[in-house]
């Protein structure tokens, strides 16, 4: 855009903002806010905090509250935490039984461990598939790069649920894949992957691959090619260069990609429900069943809280790596 002769969108917007700020009632309100010690900068930074407060922190406390309650046949199906005896005495009944129940019933710990295992395996698989993809895209010519990136993101244009359903057809006994393998003589009888852990792995890797590829692509694309030449010049073979230069210098992208796959995969519900078997019990599915089938909201909330606490660990790790990387670049 030329931007010299004609005003661009930014200039128009800032002009409008100027006019708005000049408007008398706005100016009066601004003066009032200033008296209370609220500056424009604070107002701007407050927006995301407000968003988090309303859509994250408040629901979190509601769930936390329910997790300390007990089941009741009512609407909603849990006992209120705070009751008024004779409208005078406030009674707070904290029920720690839900957490104790989670601890005692092996179902939850095994579901939780299984979730971590499933998420771990699928993240590793996604990394193994995604890294070469990202590397290939980052090293391709400029015009190809955009097309390839588009192709990576293209599946997002259709419904997530639909795509997971499609895998049911692809992984079943009568699937075209099975028929092709039979025709080629690679297998003697049709194999069904459906309702196994592998079907869940395939589903998760397929669904979350873009989240792995994009941060990896960004990191690899940033990598200075002369560093690889320098390594070769100093006698380093290509495979070794990959492990001693490329991999450590794209660590940021690896960590980001793994987090973006691992965190949602741990709580994944749809994929194990549709593709997994009865054995592939994951915490997301347990949560769903507690909530909708058992209508045990307090236990479901306790599971949700537990899952959240469990995921805080990797998120903090991610933050730390990001900060360390930011420090190193400065």
């Amino acid at each position: 855009m030329s931007g010299v002769a004609q005003p661009n969108l930014g200039q128009v917007l800032s002009g409008l903002l100027q006019a708005l700020l000049g408007w008398a009632p706005v100016r009066a309100a601004q003066g009032r806010l200033k008296d209370w010690g609220v500056t424009g900068r604070m107002a701007v930074t407050a927006v995301p905090y407000l968003w988090l407060l309303v859509f994250f922190l408040v629901p979190f406390f509601i769930v936390l509250k329910i997790s300390f309650s007990s089941v009741e046949i009512a609407m909603p199906p849990f006992a209120p935490l705070i009751q008024w005896a004779d409208d005078k005495v406030m009674l707070i009944r904290l029920n720690l039984g839900n957490y104790q129940f989670l601890w005692e019933d092996e179902l939850y710990s095994s579901a939780l461990l299984n979730s971590l295992k499933m998420a771990g395996v699928s993240t590793t698989l996604a990394l193994l598939v995604g890294y070469p993809m990202a590397y290939g895209i980052a090293r391709s010519s400029r015009e190809w790069r955009n097309i390839l990136l588009m192709l990576v993101m293209l599946p997002f244009w259709t419904s997530f649920l639909l795509r997971v359903y499609a895998w049911i057809g692809l992984l079943g006994i009568n699937s075209p894949i099975n028929q092709m393998l039979l025709a080629l003589g690679l297998i003697d009888e049709p194999v069904s992957l459906l309702q196994t852990d592998w079907a869940v792995y395939i589903g998760i890797v397929y669904s979350y691959l873009p989240f792995m590829v994009l941060p990896l692509y960004t990191a690899i694309e940033k990598l200075d090619g002369t560093l690889l030449e320098a390594a070769a010049d100093l006698g380093c073979r290509p495979t070794r260069t990959f492990f001693s230069i490329t991999l450590p210098l794209t660590k940021e992208g690896i960590v980001a990609g793994c987090m973006l796959v691992f965190i949602p995969a741990t709580g994944e519900f749809v994929i194990p429900a549709l593709l997994g078997g009865p054995d592939s019990l994951m915490i997301g599915r347990v949560l769903w069943e507690e909530f909708f089938n058992n209508r045990d909201w307090p236990v479901a909330s306790a599971v949700a809280i537990l899952l959240l606490l469990l995921l805080v660990g990797p998120i903090m790790l991610y933050q730390r790596v990001q900060q360390a990387a930011g420090g190193a670049h400065r």
Binding site: D224, T226, L227, E229, A230, A231, A232, D233, L234, G235, C236, R237, R240, I245, P248, L249, A328, H329
Partner: protein, 378 residues
């Protein structure tokens, strides 16, 4: 300076018996339709500091990258130490390179950067440490081993890059604009450090640069490149005093160029008539050119004398008017307009302090000796 070392008798490139350490044989490199390097042949000898000099895009870096093994020649062959380098990957070549951007590994300490090459060769740890600290001492960076490259200044990084490329004791070191990223003052000091180091270690240097001053200081010989070809190869003084083409004469230093025509062509002298000068120029050596062909006479500004009175000399004396004066302290630069309108650059040393120097719009006489002329035909 590198080209006036007193102890040397016969330079290797003058010795017909000497075997070149690097031989570039009719090498061409094409990128699509673009010819980056065009039929270049060149011999570089052991212990030389050879400078490839040219403007950006002239193919000098491509030639260097082919020596390092990052690019393969489209045609022709490269030999290093008598061995054909065709198909030999960079990590198997007896060559190290210092990159223009230094290409230091940001995730490694200075020590690990320098040790990287030794580690690839499986040098045992004790020896590795010894050689790394020896190298860091050589480039005056002992005590900086534990730092990260990004904690160092530009000059320090340059020395880390140098240490890293020298630690494997290569016979041939390729340097891509080695001082390009340094500021002027630092660059001057580093030039001499680099040459001292080269002499001390006996490494053959091939240096790529676009900076003619850098080339003049560092090089034993210079190859001037343009459009993928080497136009002229020679010692810095050869290149400066006896350029063989207009491009070289113009690229190295500043020069006055007069277009003309041979009117007298004798084996030991020629006379050239130049409308720009308004008369003929006398040159005290023969010129290999067809009679009546167009030629150019090149005269360096510092070889032109400037006087108020007509000097006692019958040839190569011209009259003009001073148009511009730049007083630079040690020298003054003048632009003198001849009667044809042609501007001539003159540089005069300010040998004594005086106030009656030539001033603007003064009529002056320009003169130079017949030996100051260089005649080029292309």
């Amino acid at each position: 300076m590198a080209n006036t070392r007193p102890d040397e008798k016969l330079k290797p490139w003058q010795d017909p018996q000497a075997l070149p350490y690097v031989r570039i044989e009719r090498v061409t490199k094409r990128f699509g339709d673009f010819v980056a390097v065009n039929q270049v042949s060149l011999d570089i000898y052991q212990g030389e500091a050879f400078c490839l000099l040219g403007a950006s895009g002239c193919g000098k870096t491509t030639l260097l990258r082919m020596l390092a093994g990052f690019d393969d020649p489209s045609e022709g062959r490269l030999f290093i130490d008598g061995q054909d380098m065709t198909g030999i990957p960079p990590y198997e070549r007896p060559v190290n390179m210092m990159f223009q951007s230094y290409a230091l590994f940001p995730h490694m300490s200075v020590e690990d950067n320098v040790a990287f090459g030794l580690r690839q060769d499986g040098v045992p740890k004790a020896e590795r440490q010894e050689r790394v600290s020896e190298m860091l001492k050589l480039v005056a960076l002992d005590g900086y081993g534990k730092r990260r490259p990004q904690q160092l200044s530009g000059g320090q990084r340059q020395r880390v890059a140098l240490a890293r490329s020298l630690v494997k004791r290569p016979k041939l070191l390729l340097l891509d604009e080695p001082l390009g990223a340094l500021d002027k003052k630092l660059r001057e000091n580093t030039q001499f450090e680099l040459i001292n180091l080269q002499e001390k270690l006996g490494v053959t240097f091939v240096i790529v640069t676009h900076d003619q001053e850098e080339a003049m200081t560092l090089a034993s010989r210079i190859g001037v490149m343009n459009h993928g070809r080497i136009l002229q190869t020679g010692t810095p003084s050869d290149i400066y005093e006896y350029p063989t083409s207009k491009y070289v004469a113009d690229f190295i230093g500043s020069v006055n160029m007069f277009e003309g025509r041979l009117v007298e062509d004798e084996p030991d002298y020629v006379r050239i008539e130049s409308p720009e000068l308004g008369s003929t120029v006398y040159v005290d050596h023969g010129v290999a050119s067809a009679p009546d062909a167009k030629v150019w006479v090149a005269v360096r500004p510092e070889k032109v004398r400037l006087d108020r009175e007509r000097p006692d000399q019958s040839e190569n004396v011209f009259n003009g008017t001073v148009k511009e004066i730049a007083y630079l302290g040690d020298v003054s630069r003048y632009l003198v307009a001849l009667d044809s309108g042609k501007l001539v650059r003159v540089t005069q040393p300010n040998t004594d302090r005086r106030d009656d120097r030539v001033t603007w719009e003064e009529r002056v006489w320009l003169s130079w000796s017949p030996g100051a002329n260089v005649v080029v035909t292309q």
